[in-house]
Amino acid sequence: MRILVNGRSLEVQATTLATLLEELGYGDRKVGTAINQEFVRDRDRETMRLKDDDAVEIVTPRQGG
């Protein structure tokens, strides 16, 4: 299916948020996730199913003011 990941359109095989993170190479890194501007908890990623045109955000710590 085609989804937006961090603002970029991607064709992906994954059907859940957890498998998307694996497919994109995040491994066991600590990331924050949201779909369509709704926060998705770490423990809910396994069951969070993706659908066409979902906008997924995957974020990590960064410098901030």
Partner: protein, 261 residues
Amino acid sequence: MDPLTLYDANLGSRLLLGTARYPSPAVLGEAVRASGCEIVTVSLRREAGGGRSGESFWALIRDLGVKALPNTAGCRTAKEAVATAQMAREVFATDWIKLEVIGEEDTLQPDVFGLVDAARALVSEGFCVFPYTTDDLVVAERLLDAGCRVLMPWAAPIGSGRGVNNAFALRALRAHFPDTPLVVDAGLGAPSHATAVMELGYDAVLLNTAVARAGDPVGMARAFRLAVEAGRAGWRAQPMTPRDMAEPSTPTIDRPFDQNA
């Protein structure tokens, strides 16, 4: 210096420092140490699968032994800010959030309506909200009504280095909320600006650009540390009341050549 309590934290330092825009991670680390701060602000940003910059940055902050205050910088709506805060709580393992909802691009002025909405939603979820706000008294009331226990009014637009734009408004906030911790966030450029807001009775200052973009960030961090301490000590020592006219400091009685004796 007398201790400061922000939510559940008792702090020896009244300086909070941002972690962005430093020349290098090493300089950032040295500046944090020189500032004596115990709280640094951090953010969340997109990162690709193969990236490692987030991981290495977070390792640096952990090694410094300071408490992280995540922000919602760049969020334009309450919805974005709430989702960002929720992600930050999970990633940084803290209920603290510096809440920013930006309403205008040129000044980065907070959207105070979205700010109050987001604050209310986050407090109901157990967050300790540090709202970045204007110096508006009524908005401050609404934020406290929403459950915020700290207020962070601006002195001037983020990154401008202008110092205090409206001392009257900051003084009014201090007078109106004598028991609420007030942290000036944004707009300070020079150590003297920090001293000035501390002399108004503010509890702390939050800086980033003034230190990070100085010619010598480590030296400037040390200067701000001293400035904050001086301002706090000055305020506690109760400055004299200003006068319009001169008043001799040397006794006038028994002045030599006094023709009026």
